[in-house]
Amino acid sequence: MRKALLMTMVLVLALGLAACASGGGSGSGQTPSPSSASPGGSQAPSGSSPEPVTLRIAWWGSQPRHDYTLQVIEMYQQANPHVRIEPEYASWDDYWKRLAPQAAAGNLPDILQMDLSYITQYAGNGQLEDLTPYLNREIDVSDVSESALSGGRLGDKLYGFNLGVNALQVHYDPALLQKIGLDKLPDNWTWDTYKELGQKAKDAGLYFETGLRPEVFFAYYLRQHGQRLYSPDGTSLGYDNDQLFVDYFTMTRDMVLMGASPTPDVIAQIKGIEDDLLVKQQAISVWQWSNQYVGLQTAAGRPLEMHPLPGPNVKQGMFLKPSMFFSIAANSRHKEEAAKFINFFINDIEANKLIKGDRGVPVAGKVKDALKPLLPPELQKVFEYIQWAEQNSSPADPPDPIGAAEVMALFKTYDDMMKFEQITPEEAAKRFREEANAILAKNK
């Protein structure tokens, strides 16, 4: 008797969970009926403007970003008095920790900021709305290039609207570079140059760089050789030749062993930008994204320069990465209004004067042009670099497949092991392939 009761309870439970978790439905882009109450969501059915509407918007970031975003929201509310926007914001890891249960409960905010590393997970499970029907209606994309839009595409659907564009750069301190006898980094430099400069830096008592994140720069390296990190369907690694793995990681490992790049434990102790090795004048360059340039320069308090990555085949390797997206929740009851806000965010010039490219270089051409002259010189440099990159890059990789987080962890483990000399790159290449493929195979 008791057993039957227990079984029934469990069954009811499982069904209940299934019901609310599948609030996203078929994922074919249709609007599913909301399966659970969304508190703080709507008060009236969506429709034409006069009906008062409440939207929830969520983003991650730090103090400066919260401040200006709130101002932009205020601007929008004043222009659209029938809309009330309730902001929810947090730091990066808290944001994702909070979002996941919300998704499970069918309770995502109407507008949510999205990142390449998570978008596949959320979109692939029907949590996000396909934005394609809203293009050229609520969202004016006449001024936005297709390559900028493509970053948010999965298959033929658009799940996230690109808020700004990033590209990879080498940020360096010219004063420190002079200590190894150069005024600026050589144009058309290659990975061999990189190794030479590393040796020179070590001789001068400096690190050449502060560590290259494997998932980013190995992916770039693969692209230079015409390969991709992930296969197009995301079910396995995208490159067959393990020699590429061996070459790249031997090179970075040797830099560490030589003393031109910091060991993993030195990196682990860095608390934030102020503690960065370049800021402390112990390293010549930092390899990262273009939207991190201004922050680094501010922290360093002295002029820095930017430079493209080493060749060969820079154009093949380079790509424009959407720094982040705004997506619309599938469980939102005010999708048109949400889309209108997104439109405002990317197209309105006054709003962007507040945003100042913090979320990446704006994708709308008119906005870029209007904004550039008003910006401080460091930001202008970033804009110009992006313009250069637009001409010198090839189409970006599709968004990371599900399981990418685990693959990244694998990279870190093996990268550290190689740098601590606990494993050879050849052995690491083989084991990495096995384990990564096992992880990605679950996507079949």
């Binding site: 469990v10 499982a14 969970l17 249960p101 959320y122 608390k271 685990e406 483990t413």
Partner: protein, 299 residues
């Protein structure tokens, strides 16, 4: 007789009813849900898919990191709990006096515990153990070699162990309360009979304190097994170097909230629950040999 017994039973239930109700309302369903989930493949977005014992099989037989996290956690518990309790008891006894200003000492020593789980502390602790941090400076001063706390998996774990020990304040407080409950008259009588401090400690303090010792032992063991925030912040969520600080709960968190393998995370949680429950039951079972209760109402 029967009516009286029934009344006793009802009275008992009356008293524990809040717990029962609260449990049934808020905890039972989520716990059952997590149990069911441990047999599914669930990524939070699509409906859970039944996979039977697959999660457990994968954890036990295919996951190196799982066993690493078990080893790391066991090492952690083995050192952190005894060290912490010993310090706590010693300091509690030292502070169990009627000296003026002892309240100040108590508050100050308790301070590390209070700020305990906070982010600021974890960051600060990490800083102390940096290559040029104060700990290494101290080691050099005393003539030892500096330790690469972040580069050596064992050393890194000791960072966490030391953090736990540093925060012995809460156990100390409980011991203090327990010490206070021992009537002074027992000690007085013993002194009169010629017992020295060591004998007083072993014959009076320890036995009368034993329920409290049991409590602290169990609580600290459980809490050591589920330690999460310090490890998360100090290792930036990664459990490095080389998984040296990959505590069980940290790995659980990663499985659930970074890789979205909620099914495996639930499985891990239930394994932990069973292990800790068995350990606790063991502690309780052996307690009848060393714990002394003044009241018969419950051993």
């Amino acid at each position: 007789m029967k009516a009286r017994q029934l009344r006793n039973h009802l009275a008992g239930y009356a008293f524990i009813s809040p717990f029962v109700i609260g449990f049934l309302a808020f905890t039972l369903i989520p716990i059952c849900a997590s149990l069911v989930l441990s047999f599914t493949d669930y990524d939070l977005f699509s409906p859970p898919r039944w996979v039977g014992l697959d999660n457990f099989r994968k954890l036990f037989f295919q996951d190196n990191k799982y066993w690493k996290s078990v080893r790391v956690t066991l090492t952690y518990v083995l050192f952190a709990v005894p060290l912490r309790l010993v310090f706590a008891l010693l300091v509690a006894m030292v502070l169990n006096v009627q000296v003026r200003g002892v309240g100040v000492y108590r508050t100050l020593i308790y301070l590390p515990s209070i700020i305990g789980g906070s982010v600021a502390v974890a960051i600060m602790w990490r800083n102390l153990f940096g290559d040029q941090g104060i700990i290494n400076l101290g080691l050099i001063f005393l003539g030892f070699d500096p330790v690469r706390w972040f580069g050596n998996p064992t050393a890194a774990l000791w960072m966490l162990i030391l953090l736990a020990v540093w925060q012995f304040g809460s156990s100390m407080l409980i011991f203090l309360a327990g010490l206070k409950n021992i009537p002074v008259t027992y000690y007085e009588a013993a002194s009169v009979d010629g017992a020295g401090p060591l004998r007083r400690f072993f014959r009076i303090t320890l036995p009368l304190l034993s329920p409290v010792i049991l409590f602290n032992l169990i609580m600290q063991t459980i809490s050591a097994f589920i330690t999460f925030i310090p490890a998360y912040i100090i290792t930036k969520g990664e459990g490095g170097p080389l998984d040296g600080t990959l505590l069980y709960s940290l790995y659980l968190f990663r499985q659930g909230f970074v890789y979205y393998h909620m099914g495996e995370a639930s499985a891990m949680a239930w394994i932990l629950l069973v292990v800790v429950a068995l350990l606790t039951a063991l502690l309780f079972a052996t307690s009848r040999f060393w714990v002394y209760y003044e009241s018969k109402g419950g051993a």
